[in-house]
């Protein structure tokens, strides 16, 4: 197997707030290889977006405390000088956000913003060459009539087209890694389907490694190869797509999968639900953070279980739950 493109280990991010230290990410680690799509799934407050932002040094606010290691092709990014990060951002790693309206400057033409991004990193590029490249990229992401549409302003595009333009800009410098933070959440389902197809195609055709941040298991099933489920700042389960969907090991994953509404099944009389709400990161319970909501909590749970493989036959499938695998099989 090839060496991982991205190696994250022991990542911890805390913010000093008036109410105390808020541990948003608490020991997150994962690997991502070229051509692979890893989905990080979680609810609000799980730390999934903070994790994504920290990888590129975007979460660096004065009150943030960051520890751990983020290596891209072997090069350490945490604590790297701004100059290094600036080179990495865009050229090697690009990011797509949830809201493509706020990601563009409203007063410049879309094509010129894409060209600007190229020229900032490739100083020798002429304006004409930048524009030509923008047209190419618009075409590659399926924006119709790209020659004309590169001269449009952001507000002239629909939400789906803006998200395509955002992806075009992300691809401008041919990055190896794309970080997509809820890239389809603000879009209508019919448009979402098109953007997911586009992401899958880019991943297939260009070998683009993708880190997909989402709350939606439907989106995960459509595009991911591997899945990491986050809860209250920690990864609670990680495995291949099929492992996590068909042999989920953490009761939180069971709950999430169970409460996902399925249009392809007969409707249940009542939806399965997880009781309670995610804990405040300022007042986390001792041990497993899911314990207060978990119907199967028992004596060991006041201690934090480590993330490790607990099934003998699937080494890549790791979880943080004290329950014995046999017991889980009965409960699930």
């Amino acid at each position: 197997m090839s060496a991982p493109l991205l190696e994250v280990s022991g990542l911890r991010v805390a913010f000093a707030t008036e109410a105390g230290l808020l541990q948003a990410v608490d020991g997150v680690g994962f690997e991502l290889r070229a051509g692979e799509v890893l989905a990080i799934v979680g609810e609000s407050g799980s730390g999934k977006s903070v994790t994504a932002q920290t990888l590129l040094g975007l979460g660096r606010s004065p009150g943030a405390r960051i520890e751990g290691s983020v290596r891209l092709g072997g090069e350490e990014l945490l604590g790297a000088p701004e100059e290094t990060l600036r080179r990495v951002r865009g050229e090697r790693v690009a990011m797509v956000f949830q809201n493509p309206m706020t990601s563009f400057n409203p007063v410049y033409r879309l094509g010129s913003q894409v060209a600007e991004a190229i020229r900032a990193h490739r100083p020798g590029t002429s304006k004409a060459a930048g524009r030509a490249r923008a047209v190419e990229l618009f075409e590659a992401v399926g924006i119709p009539d790209p020659e004309r549409r590169v001269d449009a302003y952001p507000h002239e595009f629909s939400g789906g087209m803006r998200q395509r333009a955002m992806i075009a800009m992300a691809l401008a410098l041919e990055p190896e890694l794309l970080i997509a933070d809820e890239p389809t959440t603000a879009l209508d389902v019919t448009v979402q389907a098109q953007i997911l197809d586009l992401l899958a195609r880019l991943n297939r055709e260009r070998g683009l490694a993708t880190l997909l941040i989402t709350h939606d298991f439907g989106v995960v099933a459509e595009v991911a190869d591997r899945v990491a489920v986050m809860y209250a700042g920690r990864v609670v389960e990680e495995g291949t797509l099929d492992q996590v969907f068909y042999e989920p090991q953490h009761p939180y994953t069971w709950g999430l999968l169970g409460s996902t509404i399925r249009l392809d099944r007969e409707r249940p009389r009542r939806l399965a639900q997880i009781s309670g709400a995610p804990p405040s990161l300022l007042a986390l319970p001792e041990g497993c953070a899911f314990r207060p909501r978990c119907p199967h909590a028992f004596g060991e749970c006041p201690q934090v279980p480590e993330l490790r493989a607990r099934l003998t036959d699937s080494p890549g499938h790791r979880d943080r739950c004290w329950l014995a695998p046999e017991r889980k099989r009965e409960l699930r």
């Binding site: 019919t190 989106v219 969907f245 249009l263 939806l271 997880i274």
Partner: protein
């Protein structure tokens, strides 16, 4: 007799030009001839994408926007075009639950005031009586006594939506119009709120107009579904029938676009 009967409802917004804005050059046909009815105790799910006109339709039904034309009959009586004054006594019988729980609650009032104010406006003047009804309602939607004095920013999204539901139900309405009531919530909380709305309907005999972009959620709560596009209903019928055997091309597209949270199924679908 249906509790709510909407016939040929139209809401157009004029596009005006000229110095005095007196020249109508075009019209935005937000709602363009919509008809449906909801029997007492039933749920109609109104589904559509952004810009389909589903929210405007709700507002026109409740007379929050004056319809351009068409009829809205509530308990058999015409309410379209009624003056604000004549609508006022009817308001308590038709309430609304909004999408963004935090944004729809007054940030400067504690929970018991938010839920109690509609009663005060209605003239339930005895403080003790108000308190009793507010407490009973909060308990009914699953909020503890400790939440009563909290402010919206101290509550989670799910708790805020429970407050929004309590505020709507404290006046004991017959009709509840819920506009995307769960779409801003986390998955695990969505299920709680959907189940709560289900229970409340059974217990209180409520009639729901449930509006959402997510056809999965809509199928779960609704008896009947109406699919809206560009201001019109393109198809309506029994909820399961619409989802299992959609007749209109747009409904088919909408359903095909919903991602299936099952890798094997979605792989099979991609191949076909």
């Amino acid at each position: 007799m249906s509790l709510l009967e909407v016939t040929d409802l139209v809401k157009h917004y004029p596009v005006r030009r000229g110095i005095l804005r007196d020249r109508e050059v075009d019209r935005v046909r937000a709602v363009d001839g919509v008809s449906f009815e909801i029997p007492r105790g039933g749920t109609l799910g109104l589904v559509g994408e952004s810009g389909s006109g589903k929210s405007t339709a709700c507002r026109a039904v409740l007379q929050l926007e004056k319809p351009t034309s068409g009829s809205v009959r509530f308990e058999g009586a015409e309410i379209a075009g009624l003056s604000r004054r004549r609508m006022r006594p009817l308001r308590r019988r038709m309430q609304m639950v909004f999408q963004s729980p935090q944004a729809s609650l007054n940030p400067r009032k504690p929970v018991d005031r938010i839920v109690g104010d509609p009663l005060r406006r209605l003239g339930v003047s005895s403080g003790a009586e108000r308190r009793r009804r507010v407490e009973a309602m909060l308990e009914r939607v699953g909020l503890d006594a400790e939440h009563r004095r909290r402010y919206p920013h101290e509550l989670s999204g799910g708790q805020c939506q429970r407050v929004g539901i309590a505020r709507a139900l404290v006046l004991e309405p017959q009709l509840v119009v819920a506009d995307e009531p769960v779409s801003a919530l986390d998955v695990s909380i969505q299920a709680q709120i959907v189940n709560l709305l289900d229970d409340l309907q059974d217990e209180l005999g409520l009639t729901y107009l449930f509006v959402a972009h997510d056809i999965g959620v809509v199928r779960h709560v609704a008896d009947r579904i109406a699919v809206m596009k560009d201001g019109r209903i393109v198809e309506q019928g029994d909820a399961d029938q619409i989802c299992d055997r959609p007749a209109h091309e747009y409904t088919q597209q909408l359903i095909a676009a919903v991602p299936i949270p099952d890798p094997r199924e979605s792989r099979a679908r991609r191949r076909s």
